[in-house]
């Protein structure tokens, strides 16, 4: 079982966390300005890269906070976590 470093609580076992998809995809502030193609892209299309990936996680059975994490999709290892709003390290 992985240990995940919640930026608010520290290392906790992975069963306390919920995965939240790819990070740094902000919901458009003016969705009406998006055409159907752009909206579909925002809604459904996500990267599926090999290697380091920025993801959203939530410490759902702990502090309840969302945060971002860098995880290597080939090794399943976390390479750091950071708070919402902070730039990707």
């Amino acid at each position: 079982m992985l240990l995940i470093d919640c930026p608010y609580c520290g290392n906790r076992p992975e069963i306390e966390f919920t995965y939240g998809g790819q990070a740094h995809i902000a919901r458009p502030t003016q969705p009406a300005d998006y055409d159907d193609h752009q909206w579909t892209e925002f809604l459904y299309l996500r990267d599926n890269q090999r290697g380091l990936r920025a993801e959203r996680w939530r410490h759902s059975h702990g502090c309840g906070r969302f945060f971002n994490a860098l995880r290597d999709t080939t090794t399943d290892r976390f390479h750091g976590t950071y708070k919402v709003g902070e730039p990707r390290p």
Binding site: R27, P31, A32, W39, F66
Partner: protein
């Protein structure tokens, strides 16, 4: 004492006899014996029938790598464990064990016919043979294969034993308590950290337990071991765990251990568990898991009496058992001479040593010569003879050209073999550490680690007692160990098949004993074009048995590599997976069984409902009363009575399971505006509104009534099952998208008991209970709320929020009181309702009543592809809002397509029973399969008040079809239905507003 038992020596207790039963016969062993050693002491080698060909099999090994001697052990019908390795079963008085995979008896097994027919059962035969005729698969092939598949049988009764689970942390976890592990533990303990040392065997010591010659620092191995263990045991920071298998290596140095606590006892101590699962998180892990001797591959190498050389030495030195009377050793390694010489010294006649190598070690040769043992260099074994036990071995030799000639048949009842040693890299590989090919050892050894893992001793290819001890210690502090009689160290040994004449039949030269995979099968796989070991493994099933190929993987790899003329690394090594040895489900389940499997949430009126004989149903984790049957009522009659009572008088319903979220803050209304489809700015304080929550894809996610308690405070209700995920979604938007909003979310689901009183007489009942509130139609219209209080004996003023809401279509109130007072207030309402014909009702009646009104249940009438408009709820959308979650998606053209499935009602024209929920709908009679399906039934009930069945359905372009006749094809024929409005009862809402 039996003839096979030595007079002295070994670690068994010779003063204490144990009698046990195997296949119905009673035998005697000694305390300290395993089932395998005790059977061998009685001259019993035949312990099993092989998986596929039902060939007689004996005991090959002395440890957990044993592939053949799988037995069942039982105490009673419920305590029955199949597929245990006899080499790991400790005997106790009265132990009952039996062989498997044979009928009617081990000595005479009908299944043996498969052996004679073996040429019809080559590798991959499942994939080819049963392809035709197709019809025969279900009736003939599948049942036949299922009957033949698997070894051993599962117990049919629930496991009555208890299992515990434990988490532990330590600085150093050491797996394997042989010389490397113990030396590592001694050195690690000096560092002061917490050290945990575990070993799968009954005693800690590993190879030291069968070491009789070597002296360590001037002491015998046994003395040194005792002293080392005493030192470790005296250290409070050290935990020693015997009978504890490290079965899995998980990320971040989490290692799973299973400790067998009471399995070895005749009876468990009072309160004692059977097994304990440890989850150990270690700062660093030391693997000292040793090495496994490799069998040699030659025809007849599976006959009972053929045994690994080191195993025979273990049986002799640790258990005082001579595994035979007259032995032949076939070896490719110097170390095995030790076994032959020690057996010879113990009185076993060594008929010959067949050394596969051209030039055996000089020292070993000399020692064997002086013991008077005949040696065949460049030798090989061409075959063995014997039915249920080995009688002779056929010895051959290579000449200078490499041609193999038969030399002699040697009578023997024990054939020892050694192909060298394979480091046990299972756990290292599980941890995702990289394996490297060692040319010198002709085996894989640990390379770069993926975790904080270090290996010591034979598991990383270090052999020889002094070097192994020093290797273990050096992980923490270098230390010199003085060892006499260190013995030879293993070299490359022999991989693959022994040299055979060109025309030899290699169908009975076994590579994987447990899955009956022979040399011939692997050669066939390469001929069929499989070039990767992963594919060869799946085609032949080599290495796929419960032993994961502990004794066979390298031979299979080498045979394939030689045939493909590639280096073994290019053919690859299969991945090792947990568990290292089979692990019980009980240990994984631990206490999570029966009532403790899942938490159960009960409402404040649970006991009341229970006492009235309510039938419950689980709704997410909640237990809800489904209906309250009276004498002689089935569910149908009961629900009918409950429905009519609500429609004509008054019903009482526990709605406490509704999800409740309080949304507070200056931006609370704006938050809801952005989230729900409705407009919230214009909702007055003290009023409620039915809200719909979509995801950004525009599909309905949840619904519920939302009340405005104050300008900056909303009371949101959600579906029972949706409470947690709705709050999670809200938190997601609050924390990550709309950080500009000042708003706070609190789950209040369990703070409030919700007592729903519904029906034409509901007001009169609620009025007598709730004080300080005006419940008149003028003061409290439909979708309004007020506050009052309820007085109880010991609580004069219980605060109450009364919502005038209805999920039944009747005049309705939901009284919210603090959950702790829920039962007291419920009792009062029920009491007050007696004068008005109040009837408690459950979720089933609730479902019928809401369906009569066309109220949807999210997840039943919607399925994640239903928009508000599809559900007929477009009226709820706040049209003037610039944005809300889902709005942009709802503007996509396809979301407004006229042929989208829409929610409608169905009247059944010809049937008396309700339609089947989930039934498909077509628009014409007599269609052939595949029919053109245009929708399906989502909800279906008998309506008591209408006197006929009703249904809700999602139908393509449904609203335009109202009035049309459609058809529901069922096995008994087509049912004709009429499409109607989904509101079946009181369409104008007169009753609701009463």
């Amino acid at each position: 004492m039996s003839t096979h038992r030595t007079q002295t020596g070994g670690r068994i207790d010779r003063t204490r006899k144990v009698s046990f039963r195997f296949d119905g016969r009673t035998y005697t062993g000694q305390v300290g014996d395993t089932l395998a050693s005790a059977l061998l002491a009685n001259g019993v080698h035949l312990t099993a029938r092989s998986f596929k060909y039902h060939r007689p099999r004996g005991i090959l090994a002395a440890g957990s790598e044993e592939p053949n001697a799988l037995v069942a052990v039982w105490r009673d019908a419920a305590r029955y464990t199949p597929n245990l390795r006899a080499t790991q079963v400790e005997i106790y008085e009265g132990l009952q064990a039996g062989s498997q995979n044979r009928w009617p008896a081990l000595g005479f097994d009908i299944g043996r016919i498969n052996d004679a027919l073996s040429r019809f059962f080559p590798a991959g035969f499942y994939y080819k043979t049963f392809m035709w005729p197709r019809r025969a698969w279900k009736s003939l092939y599948e049942p036949m294969i299922r009957r033949a598949a698997g070894i051993g049988i599962a117990p049919t009764l629930p496991d009555p034993d208890r299992y515990a689970q434990r988490y532990a942390h330590c600085e150093v976890l050491i797996v394997g308590a042989g010389p490397a592990g113990i030396a590592a533990a001694l050195a690690a303990a000096k560092g002061g950290g917490r050290v945990l040392l575990c070993d799968e065997q009954s005693e800690l010591g590993g190879s030291l337990l069968s070491e009789t010659r070597a002296q360590i620092d001037g002491q015998s191995a046994a003395q040194w071991l005792a002293q080392a263990l005493a030192e470790l045991a005296a250290n409070p920071r050290v935990t020693l765990l015997s009978r504890t298998t490290a079965f899995g290596y998980f990320p971040h140095n989490l290692v799973g251990l299973v400790q067998r606590v009471s399995e070895h006892r005749e009876t468990a101590l009072p309160g004692q568990i059977r097994e304990r699962l440890w989850q150990v998180r270690a700062q660093q892990v030391v693997l000292a898991t040793g090495a496994i001797e490799r069998p040699l591959v030659f025809p007849g190498n599976d006959r009972p009496g053929v045994m690994l050389a080191d195993a025979a030495r273990t049986y002799l030195n640790r258990y005082g058992v001579r595994a035979g009377t007259r032995a032949v050793l076939v070896t490719a390694d110097d170390t095995a001479y030790q076994s032959a010489l020690e057996l010879a010294a113990a009185g076993v006649a060594i008929a010959a040593i067949v050394d596969v190598r051209d030039q055996p070690g000089a020292q070993q040769l000399a020692a064997a010569h002086s013991a008077g043992i005949e040696i065949f260099a460049a030798g090989t074994v061409l075959g063995t003879r014997g039915a249920l036990r080995l009688r002779a071995a056929r010895i051959g030799q290579r000449d200078a050209t490499g041609a193999v000639h038969f030399r002699r048949s040697v009578v023997c009842d024990l054939l020892l073999m050694s192909g060298g040693f394979t480091p046990s890299v299972h756990l290292f590989s599980q941890s995702r550490g990289k394996l490297e090919w060692s040319e010198e050892l002709q085996a894989f050894v640990p390379g770069a680690a993926a975790e904080a893992t270090r290996c010591a001793g034979a598991c990383r290819g270090v052999f020889g007692l002094s070097r192994v001890l020093e290797d273990g210690a050096a992980l923490f502090a270098a230390q010199h160990y003085e060892v006499s009689e260190d013995g030879p160290t293993p070299g490359a040994g022999w991989l693959g098949t022994l040299p055979q004449p060109v025309d030899a039949d290699v169908g009975k030269a076994f590579v994987d004993f447990q899955h009956d995979v022979s040399l011939k099968d692997i050669l066939l796989a390469t001929r069929e074009g499989f070039h990767s070991i992963e594919h060869i493994k799946r085609f032949t099933t080599t290495g796929m048995a419960t032993d994961q190929g502990k004794t066979s993987n390298l031979n299979a790899l080498a045979i394939a590599a030689q045939r493909l003329q590639k280096p073994p690394v290019e053919v690859g090594l299969t991945t090792f997976r947990m568990p290292f040895t089979p692990t019980t489900f009980g240990s994984f389940a631990g206490a999570s069984r029966g009532e403790l499997f899942d938490p159960v949430r009960r409402t404040p009126t649970h006991e009341w409902a229970e006492a009235r004989g309510a039938v419950f149903e689980p709704v997410s984790l909640w237990m809800r009363a489904r209906y309250f049957p009276q004498e002689g009522e089935d569910m149908h009659l009961c629900v009918k009575r409950e429905c009519l009572a609500v429609r004509s008088a008054c019903g009482l319903f526990d709605a406490s399971t509704l999800g409740k979220i309080e949304i507070v803050g200056p931006d609370a209304a704006e938050f809801l505006n952005r989230l729900y489809v409705n407009n919230w700015s214009n909702l007055a304080v003290g009023r409620c509104r039915y809200g719909i929550l979509c995801r950004d894809d525009g599909f309905i996610y949840d619904d519920g009534v939302i009340a405005r308690l104050a300008p900056d405070r909303f009371h949101v209700t959600t579906t029972t099952g949706g409470a947690a995920r709705v709050l999670a979604m809200m938190e997601d938007y609050r924390q990550t998208e709309w950080t500009d909003l000042a708003v706070w979310l609190t789950s209040t689901t369990e703070q409030w008991a919700v007592i729903a009183v519904q029906g034409p007489r509901a007001r009169r009942v609620v009025e007598t209970v709730v004080q300080g509130a005006d419940l008149s139609a003028a003061a409290l219209p439909h979708m309004a709320l007020t506050r009052g209080y309820v007085s109880c004996e010991d609580a004069p003023q219980i605060p109450a929020m009364v919502f005038r809401v209805s999920f039944t279509g009747e005049l309705g109130f939901e009284i919210n009181v603090p959950a702790g007072y829920g039962r007291a207030v419920w009792d009062q309402v029920f009491e007050a309702g007696q004068a008005h014909g109040i009837v408690p009702y459950g979720t089933e009646t609730m479902h019928v009543l809401r369906a009569e009104k066309g109220y949807i249940i999210v997840g039943q009438d919607t399925d994640g592809t239903v928009t508000p408009d599809d559900a007929g709820l477009a009226w709820a959308i706040g049209k003037t809002k610039p944005d809300f979650v889902g709005k942009r998606s709802l503007q996509r053209p396809s979301m407004n397509d006229a042929i989208r499935k829409q929610l409608v009602g169905l009247f059944c024209l010809s049937c008396t029973a309700p339609l089947e929920e989930g039934a498909q709908i077509v628009d014409s009679r007599g269609q052939s399969v595949p029919m053109k399906l245009i929708g399906h039934v989502t909800s279906s009930y008998d309506s008591a008040v209408l006197g006929k069945p009703i249904a809700l359905a999602l139908i393509a372009g449904g609203r335009a079809r109202i009035g049309q006749r459609l058809f529901v094809p069922m096995p008994g024929g087509e049912i004709e239905v009429e499409v109607t409005s989904p509101v079946f009862y009181d369409e104008k809402g007169v009753r609701l507003n009463g």
